[in-house]
């Protein structure tokens, strides 16, 4: 039982990290950044390349840390570029225009990656010994530990950042009422850019963590993306704690649904969607979403 909880938590915290990227952007711009998954995929590729290059010279664990930083930096850079070129001109356009622009970008990014990095999936060697540790009945791999530790740290840091710092406050202000925020002297462009950087950095970390156990391939982003997005919506999109809650809830329930409730494995993906619909029917704006009435 505890084992399933742990497995679910691991899967869920990855969802949560990616979900944060969606939710942060949705918070300030009110649109679904469809290309988020592909941005993190590019970051993962860059990290892989840096890691494979460096580990011949230096200690793998140091190479790994540098690789993560490189992945974060490249994802962030790409996100800023995309925001400038494809989203900013559409900030006052009809609601669906940026969504389409994002879909176009997602197609461009995943195909560019397959052109440059090849269609073959590549393995990200674990930079550490992944022998499972047994605690009684509980089996924990160091890899799972790494995921839990990293994502929890990042979520806590993010939480305090948003609550305590000036930039965090500015982000909340922009998300609440962009116009007023601007009138109050907040440089909204800067805040929006910063939001993209933050979201894609978290995404890149998640991408790297996922591919350690699996592999790196050009459509990596879209597969994580959908589930993470659902996690964001379950928690209440635009709400940061909501994304974390949604991600972990989704991960745990998916694991439980199959392992404990005995749902046939083929229907595993349906668990996420049924959960999504039930939660939305119960709380139409997600669990922690602000359920304010539309203006009349």
């Amino acid at each position: 039982m505890l084992q399933h909880l742990l497995n679910g938590f691991t899967v869920g915290s990855i969802y949560a990290l990616v979900a944060l990227g969606y939710t942060l952007v949705y918070g300030v711009l009110k649109f679904i950044n469809f290309a988020h998954g592909d941005v993190l995929m590019i970051g993962t590729y860059i990290a892989l390349i840096v890691f494979n290059f460096l580990r011949t010279f230096i200690e793998p664990s140091i190479a790994f840390i540098i690789a993560i930083l490189a992945g974060i930096a490249s994802s962030a850079l790409l996100a800023v570029l995309i925001e400038r070129v494809a989203y900013r001109p559409l900030r006052h356009a009809p609601r669906l225009a940026p969504l389409l622009s994002a879909i176009g970008l997602s197609v461009i990014l995943s195909n560019t990656a397959s052109l440059i990095f090849g269609t073959k999936s590549q393995r990200f060697e674990m930079p550490f010994n992944n022998t499972p540790i047994h605690w009684g009945n509980l089996v924990v791999t160091p890899y799972q530990g790494l995921i839990l530790l990293t994502s929890l740290t990042m979520m806590v840091l993010l939480h305090f950042f948003i609550k305590m710092t000036r930039t965090g406050k500015a982000m909340r202000a922009v998300s609440e009422k962009p116009m007023v925020a601007q009138l109050m002297g907040i440089d909204t462009d800067r805040i929006i850019r910063f939001t993209f950087i933050l979201g894609s950095a978290l995404g890149a970390v998640a991408g790297i963590l996922v591919s350690l156990d699996y592999k790196v391939y050009p459509t990596l982003g879209s597969l994580i993306g959908l589930k993470a997005f659902i996690a964001a919506v379950i928690g209440g999109i635009g709400n940061i704690s909501g994304a974390m809650l949604g991600g972990i809830l989704l991960g745990v329930l998916e694991t439980y649904g199959v392992a404990v409730l005995g749902i046939p494995v083929g229907y595993k993906d349906s668990v996420a969607f049924v959960l999504l619909i039930i939660i939305l029917l119960w709380r139409p704006s997600g669990i922690l979403g602000s359920n304010k009435r539309e203006k009349i």
Binding site: Y26, L90, V107
Partner: protein, 296 residues
């Protein structure tokens, strides 16, 4: 060459039906739904199951059953989710779409599971055989449907019902305070949209001769949304134009014969690029009315 153009014409017609359905739901009624692929799958599988087990069946009966199944599922999906707003509805309906796909994949007894249903026979219209081998006849058959449905939708638009939908799109609260049963109208619009997509699915199944669940993934729904938004929301003619643009830009390399000269990924990149550029320069869609900037 002619044959290829005819085939593109057939697919254009089938996608046009999907886009018309989407436009009724999204453009006319203002509901952002993302499950056209699921409705299409319902139509396609209904057709496949009926034609492979009860052949020969008069075409009229087949159409009635497909429309019935389509609207039934439209109601099933619409009734619970239509109280959701905006992006939440989009995600919930996307979830439903994935559940439908998941069920098709796992209900092996009825749907053939991952093997799908093959050997779907052609149908008879009076004394004319509607078969995929005679493309010009099939093209006329498909566009016959498009024509009839377009006519019906135009009639609908100018009726009391159509004006009610428009009122709901513009201001739901005002509409309901005028005594409109908004839920009923929304559900009916959803059902009609679903039935049109189911018909598209029927045409698709007969043309391809086989159906598998993977053909109806959420990317298809997203593409249909792209067609409608690209054309300009709320205008049936624009939906057709949008469909044409998407079909043509995705088939352009094949039509011009340079699909062999460049890597396949470049085709896709080109597609994404055109989508982004069109959105940046015409965010309201090719034929959409320029929207006055809203004060946020």
């Amino acid at each position: 060459m002619i044959s290829l153009v005819l085939l593109i014409g057939i697919y254009f017609g089938i996608y046009a039906l999907l886009a018309l359905g989407q436009n009724l739901i999204t453009g006319m009624t203002g509901l952002l739904s993302l499950c056209q692929a699921a409705f299409m799958a319902i139509g396609a599988y209904t057709t496949a199951i009926i034609l492979t087990s009860h052949h020969p069946l008069p075409l009229a009966e087949l159409i009635v059953i497909v429309v019935f199944m389509g609207s039934l599922f439209g109601a099933m999906i619409g009734l619970p989710t239509l109280r959701l707003k905006g992006d939440y509805l989009a995600i919930a309906s996307l979830g439903f779409g994935e559940i439908v796909k998941n069920v098709l994949l796992n209900a092996d007894k009825f749907t053939g599971g991952p093997m799908g249903i093959t050997h779907i026979p052609s149908v008879q219209l009076g004394r004319i055989l509607i078969s995929p081998y005679d493309k010009s006849v099939y093209l006329i058959f498909v566009w016959g449907f498009v024509g009839v449905i377009l006519w019906g939708l135009f009639r609908l638009q100018r009726s009391r019902f159509g004006r009610a939908l428009e009122a709901i799109r513009e201001d739901e609260v005002a509409a309901s305070s005028l005594g409109l049963n908004t839920t009923l109208y929304k559900v009916v619009a959803f059902m009609i949209g679903a039935a049109i997509s189911a018909l598209a699915g029927m045409l698709w199944a007969i043309y391809n001769g086989s159906v598998i669940p993977q053909s109806f993934d959420f990317m298809l729904s997203i593409m249909v949304l792209c067609m409608v938004v690209l054309g300009g929301l709320g205008n049936y003619f624009a939906a057709l134009v949008g469909t044409m643009v998407i079909v043509i830009i995705s088939e352009l390399p094949r039509l011009l014969g340079f699909s062999v000269l460049i890597p396949a990924q470049l085709d896709q990149i080109l597609f994404g690029l055109i989508l982004v550029i069109l959105m940046i320069y015409r965010p309201e869609g090719l034929l959409g009315r320029p929207v006055s900037k809203r004060n946020s």
